[in-house]
Symmetry: C2
Subunit: 134 residues, 2 copies
Amino acid sequence: MIQRNTIQCSVILKKINELKAHVTADELYEAIVSEYPSISRATVYRNLNKLVEMGKIRKVSVPNGADRFDYLCCDHYHVKCRLCGQLFDVEMDYIADLKQRIKDAHGFEFFGHNIIFDGICPACGKTKIKENKK
Amino acid sequence: MIQRNTIQCSVILKKINELKAHVTADELYEAIVSEYPSISRATVYRNLNKLVEMGKIRKVSVPNGADRFDYLCCDHYHVKCRLCGQLFDVEMDYIADLKQRIKDAHGFEFFGHNIIFDGICPACGKTKIKENKK
DNA sequence: TCCTTATTAGGATTTAATCTTATTAAAAGA
DNA sequence: TCTTTTAATAAGATTAAATCCTAATAAGGA
């Protein structure tokens, strides 16, 4: 017996697919606790990592912020707004050959890569222009 | 009077350039406190952020780990060993045109990007082979 | 149904980073 | 040089993210 299917784990996976957003573990906990009041924060964190290892969801490490979890779809990248801190999807092909660009691997074994863009989202961009006009 | 040159700030910058490594704020604090015992952790963190904003050093956000700080040299990328957690430089040209690859910017303003590779360093790779042979 | 043990709940703990407040010192001007 | 202003500091408290700890629970094979 290696791994058990628990109600908690399936509730977590269901909720991520339902929300279709880049949620933090804590946001997810808050969303679940209303319909499953006894669930523990530790259970949410533990199962999220388990689901990532199983390849059923994706974890996005965000600079200066909590990790975010994403339902699975195509490979894609993200941009974090430097003003509001929100994470958005970026429509761009996955750069499959990125590791071929590495000049000297020094004996490293590469598995994948993570790209996060730094930018300003449309909403914050508009606010910024208004504030500059003041 | 906008900004003051403090001894603490210059000690921190000097130490980063001396170490020439990807140090965390805490590692840096430990390295400095021996020769400057009264320095405060908060001062190290505050000045590191200040130096990043001034463009004198670089901050690297590492998945599942503390931020690391780098002395300035050329633009480059990093790889984090998934076994030992250490951060290493990757020799690869900076992809200046990366944002041109974005298909639909949705009104976003882009400034830059951050790439972190996921891999296994040579030292850990050797250890792994040995352990598999057991 | 029973038994083994993976998983959970709930709170405690750890770690990274920042905040708070009284004190100190950088640097501009007299 | 001395005075004044206030940015920056020290030291400890606090916050936030994530994990750990332990007794209790429940998944699922026998």
